[in-house]
């Protein structure tokens, strides 16, 4: 149990393939940090750098007060769960789990005791003498997890461990993972491209894109206050509405609706405006600003309806609204309200969030 620290990590394969351009972050004891980002953004590369399976081009990996950058993987005391599980096909479940302990010459009595605990914890009891080929996907996943847990490492790494499970099992295992690692005092780095996993499991989320850290925050803040346009569009499903709007005198103009910009120093001529579909609602009597529109598409998602609305007074600007089924509207015309506290503003050039009053 020791904190994990990444300092200015860079991995350059060729001048044109630079999956990780610059990354610094700390993972404290007991923290569950998720690396979240689209495919190919360098998540696995980061994990492999931490594990020592790749050497960084620049930068350091530190565990506690040790600089492990140039140590081989076996000396770092890190356990990793691979996306493919990487179970040894010719060994039994027991041998798979024992492998790391045997290689470290642990006494067989202690090996047995540890494996007994882990297998009971994960319900692997009857599977011990089977080969991985005779297990279901979910069982293999558990064995991979057991192989990591039994080591009691300084750092846990998990690379998309749920991606090979079917949807139902994924939800169940996700909940189990949360329980297992909540009881662990060890730093966990978890890689996924699935925002639901990131949101539900993590204490903090690091959103990566294009080899750079986009935002490092609690899941809640990532959702409520995305640091830039990329995070805003990547987090949340259905995706946040992001519209390019003209500004005039402290207001942005969307159709006939005037949206108040945050009280900041200079008002830009143009701005990127964002609002999540779930924050758009039907208009109420007390609303002053009303957005008129025409419904062009209704998608029934079961627990709510996803409406695509063409905003009146614009040239085909579309806005999506997620309305609970108890909010009903009639006909093609609809009046919507955009609650001021749910608005996001981003710079047109940099994509960064504009400073606003909220904490």
């Amino acid at each position: 149990m020791a904190k994990l620290e990444l300092r200015n990590l860079n991995k350059t394969y060729t001048p044109r393939v630079v999956p990780l351009k610059e990354l610094s972050l700390n993972v404290e004891n007991g923290e569950f940090l998720t690396l979240l980002g689209p495919s190919g953004c360098g998540k696995s590369t980061t994990l492999r750098l931490i594990a020592g399976l790749e050497q960084p081009t620049r930068g350091e990996v530190r565990i506690g007060d040790r600089n492990v950058t140039h140590q081989p993987p076996g000396q770092r005391n890190i356990a990793m769960v691979f996306q493919s599980y990487a179970l040894y096909p010719h060994m039994t479940v027991y041998e798979n789990i024992a492998s790391g302990l045997k290689l470290r010459r642990m006494a067989s009595a202690e090996i047995q005791q540890r494996i007994g605990e882990v297998s009971q914890f994960l319900g692997l009891g009857e599977l011990m003498q089977r080969k991985p080929g005779q297990l279901s996907g979910g069982q293999r996943q558990r064995v991979a997890l057991a192989r990591a847990l039994v080591r009691r490492p300084d750092v846990f790494l998990l690379d998309e461990p749920l991606s090979n499970l079917d949807a139902l099992l994924r939800e169940q295992v996700r909940a189990e993972l949360k329980q297992i690692f909540a009881a662990q005092p060890t730093p966990v780095v978890y890689v996924t491209h699935d925002q639901t996993e990131a949101m539900t499991l993590s204490t903090r989320v690091a959103v990566l894109n294009d080899g750079f850290l986009q935002q490092l925050d609690s899941p809640k803040r990532i959702y409520v206050r995305p640091a830039n346009r990329f995070v805003a569009s990547f987090i949340g499903s259905p995706q946040m509405n992001l519209l390019h709007l003209k500004c005039e005198g402290g207001f942005a103009q969307l159709g006939r609706c005037k949206l108040p910009l945050p009280s900041q120093v200079t008002v830009p001529p143009e701005v990127i405006f964002g609002i999540r579909p779930e924050h758009v609602r039907l208009v109420r009597p007390e609303d002053q600003q009303v957005l008129q529109g025409r419904v062009v598409l209704v998608e029934n998602l079961g627990m709510s309806d996803l409406l695509t609305v063409q905003v009146e007074g614009t040239q085909g600007t579309l806005l999506r609204a997620l309305l609970p089924p108890d909010q009903s509207w009639s006909g093609k015309q609809i009046s919507l309200a955009l609650p001021p506290e749910a608005l996001h503003w981003f710079d047109v050039q940099t994509g960064d969030r504009l400073p606003d009053a909220l904490p």
Partner: protein
Amino acid sequence: MNTTLRDQERRTGWWLLTPALLLLLLVYAYPIARSFGLSLVTQNLGTELQPVFAGLDNYSRMALDGRFWQTIGNTVFFTVVSVILELLLGLGIALVLNQAFPSRGAVRTIALLPWALPTALIATTWTWIFNDQFGVWNDILLRLGLIQTGVNWLGDPNWAMWTVIAADVWKTTPFIAILLLAGLQSIPPDLYEAHALDGATRWQSFYRITLPLLLPQILIAGLFRFAQAFGVFDLVQVMTGGGPGGATETVSLYIYATIMRYLDFGYGAALVVVTFVILSLAVALATWGLARLRAVRAIGEPR
């Protein structure tokens, strides 16, 4: 209409199989049966090449035939030594070729060349390499000061077999290497990564991951080479002709001499039958072992 679709399919299946079955019967079953029949008669110059029924006489004669036992011994020695050397060297080369390095594809292709060359050509070349006066092997050893005068490698009963083995190893190792390379490439690299994180050194990974996962390919390569080496003819015939003094005479050379030179058809057939039985037993044993290994393994693709 009483015939079900299943019956029809079965009948079609038999029709489709018939040509292949006939061909197999003709080229395999018939010669084997004919040899077995021939082995029960005496048919040689003594009987004016007429078949005379002799029961198991040919087999009892074999039991007392020192030359037969010597050729069996030679064959077993040649087979075991060359196959072991080929497997060891082939594994080493496969491990090297499995590493990423520039122009790996070209090196792989070149490595397979010896296997593609005609055996007679290879045999002639190696005969020259081991030539006592002009051979490059003697030249190297002389220059290194390891020997004082040129050794007659092919003419020395203690060395002749080793020259044949050297030529065979040179020819066949690349084939084994390519076969094992295919096996190595089918081992997922993340197994090695997981093992490294488990704390394994490269040697430990070799023993606990590579070797066990490569065992099926090693056995198949070994089995295949065993069957081939046991019947070796061309290489020995060209290099030593079985000499000196029968030191390199293998079973197939002896059979060839018995039938084609001494015209002793009955006894030759008996030799064929015995060799055939020995080979079949060995192959059956190895196949059984392989099947058992597979069953015990129950290797399923981790997916």
